[in-house]
Amino acid sequence: MDSLHLLKACFLLIPAVLMGCLLFSRWRWHVRLPAAIVLGCVLAFGVAGWLPGIMDYLVSFSIMAIIYAILSLGLNAQWGYNGHLDFGVAGFFAVGAFTMALFVTSAPAGVMAAYAQQWFGLNAPYLIGVIAAGIMAGVVAYLIAQPILHLRADFLAIATLGIAEIIRLIFQNERWLANGPQPMSGIPQPLSCVVDGGNCAWLPDAIKPVLSVMQPRDYSYLYLVIVTLGLALVYIVLEAMVRSPWGRALRAVRDEEDSAAMNGKHVKSLRVQSFVLGAIIIGVAGALYAPYMVTIDYSHFKPLFATFLVWVMLMLGGSGNNKGAILGAFVIWAVWSGTGFVTDYLQVALQGIAPDVASRMSFLRWAFVGLLLALIVLYRPQGILPEKKRVSRFLQEPEN
């Protein structure tokens, strides 16, 4: 294994270990951590050693899967915890992504101002952008929650669908806001200097020559670490909230609203809180998405990719269950990517026979995923990992 692959494996180590921590969550920490580290090393160095060819693909796959996992977690906070049928995930996703972009880029000046417009550009640090994205998505969610959250479930679904469409229309048509319909480009990637020959000012001189073997195109390895840390943070926060009194109150409202109300739980504000929380998380996912893409425009936030897929992920993985949300994200993203391979192959294979049909092969994926959602609803609506009834972390878990 050459030094480049060794280095890449080291980058893979952190996400792999975190994944191990998640997988072994049933074990106590003094067993869990060593096991996770072992698993992490095996995975990271194993892949680097035996499957170096697909390493790059695995990394880019995992980054998108993790962003989708965060989206699923956000949707779970709305749907799984509190029964909000949110068909407007794409809207909060877009708000988060564009807020991030506006915060961390600088406003185009001089010659560039003729080609690209945006409302403002603060050239802010990455973390500020992420926080701003979350807050903005939360604010939007809070504002729309007032008039629509009390509607019955099917009306809420239609309303959220409509709002996501309006948000997309705004980003598509308002040039002054985010250069719509043109893309916003040049979104800076955090810590990109690390892979640019290791020329970061804050890196100790001893490490620089080691890192110099990395190229800018290996940035995704570093970004994988960043998004995995983001996912871990979101997951930990959500899990803690689920087991808190707040989480119990939420589930009480979801399952037995009248009874919860009679018990003094402030139903309306609890519902708004879970809705806003979910939106914040979805916005954070958007903030992680924008720098990875470097260039974003309204077409990234159409309902297929940014709402529908997330629902399939959550339904498959298990709604009401955070681990299920993450599992669903990975599985469905794998299915989606896999169908991409299949349709690419079909497209080439049919090129000679029926070029018209060949060019449309990509739509086969839509049909397939649509069918998949219908099948999941029909045969396993509770998902792969059904919700475990968690009352309190102080109670012993019941034997299943």
């Binding site: 679904a157 092969m361 049909a367 959602l373």
Partner: protein, 360 residues
């Protein structure tokens, strides 16, 4: 589906010894919703406000009148899709997000037929010939079959399991993408016209209005179909059975109504009407594979505004939506049409969730 408490329960429950013999109809009914007249008045004010806004932004009164007329015509198109949706929504109780695809399917199957059949001369001043009518009938049949097959394979098993309506809605979302993918696969992503290259001049009407004969035809067709549907629902046995099933499916079974048969008829009529709507939309504007999705929001807005299950409600709601969408193009980017429809829908939902023409 959690029927969240957006209506407060009144004091005396019907059936209790204390309830009066007849319930008085109040400005706010027992659920806290405003009366139809109030909501209608608000909507009228909104439309007038749009007129003023358009006029203030420089559009002439004549143009505003034209926009209003086109809005009514657009309302006719939306209504054709809307009456099918309101029927299905009312009987089956869940929002069928794939309903838009019945429009798309209807339009494209007709297109296929029109391509195959020899082109005939246009009828009167319309832009279409008999081959379109033939295509339409065939497309309505095909779409109805598709709807029934989907119901048998997907929605009926879910009904049997007493699945919450939320799951049916989600399943229908899956069907939306499945059907749309299939349309894209068969016909591609280009836009098409039924009769490309055929001129379709507008008729000159009083008040300086210029409307195409096609547009008038579509509107007239919408009114006729709405009237027919209303007649069917109120005067025929099967129509009343549909209303009964929509009202209380369990009781309908107890009374000996075969609810599954009623549901099959509902899908047939609803999908057939939708297919007609799709053809008319394709005729009046153009065929695009995402037409179903583009129209989905205005369709739901019209149906919800008019009151789910009401045929006339769907027409009135559609016309209001159509006018609003056209009027706002005078002072807003026309791309925001669906946004306007949506805002109006939310407005009505806040004032009167059951819609303008609901009976409860």
């Amino acid at each position: 589906m959690v029927d969240s408490a957006n209506t407060a329960t009144s004091g005396a429950l019907p059936g209790s010894p204390d309830s009066p013999d007849t319930m008085t109809v109040d400005a706010r009914d027992s659920g806290g919703a405003r009366s139809s007249r109030f909501v209608g008045g608000v909507l009228l004010l909104v439309l007038i406000g749009m007129w003023v806004a358009g006029w203030l932004s420089g559009t002439s009164a004549q143009d505003m009148l034209s926009l209003t007329a086109w809005g009514v015509m657009l309302g006719g198109i939306i209504a054709l899709g809307g009456i099918g949706l309101t029927l299905c929504y009312g009987v089956l109780k869940f929002p069928n997000f794939a309903h838009g695809e019945f429009l798309t399917l209807g339009a494209y199957v007709t297109y296929g037929v029109v391509l195959v059949l020899p082109q005939s001369n246009p009828i009167w001043r319309f832009s279409f010939g008999w081959e379109l009518i033939v295509g339409l009938v065939l497309a309505a049949a095909v779409t109805a079959v598709v709807a029934i097959v989907i119901d048998r394979l997907l929605y009926r098993p879910l009904r049997r399991h007493q699945s919450p309506l939320v799951l049916l809605a989600m399943a229908s979302l899956g069907m939306e993408f499945l059907l749309r993918g299939i349309v894209y696969l068969i016909w591609g992503s280009d836009f098409h016209f039924y009769y490309s290259g055929r001129s379709n001049p507008a008729l000159s009407l009083p008040f300086g209005l210029r409307l195409q004969a096609d547009q008038l035809f579509v509107f007239a067709l919408a009114v006729v179909l709405v009237a027919l549907l209303y007649w069917m629902l109120t005067r025929t046995r099967i129509g009343k059975a549909m209303r009964a099933t929509a009202d209380n499916p369990d009781l309908a079974q107890v009374r000996g109504i075969n609810t599954e048969q009623v549901i099959a008829w509902t899908w047939t009529i609803g999908a057939g009407l939708a297919a007609t709507g799709g053809v008319m939309y394709g005729l009046a504007s153009q065929m695009r594979p995402d037409m179903g999705f583009v129209l989905l929001l205005p369709l739901f807005a019209a149906v919800i505004m008019g009151g789910i299950g009401s045929a006339w409600g769907a027409l009135v709601g559609s016309v209001i939506i159509g006018i609003a969408m056209q009027l706002t193009s005078a002072f807003l980017n026309p791309a925001y049409g669906p946004a306007v429809a949506f805002v109006l829908m939310v407005l009505v939902l806040l004032m009167r969730p059951q819609g303008l023409f609901a009976q409860r």
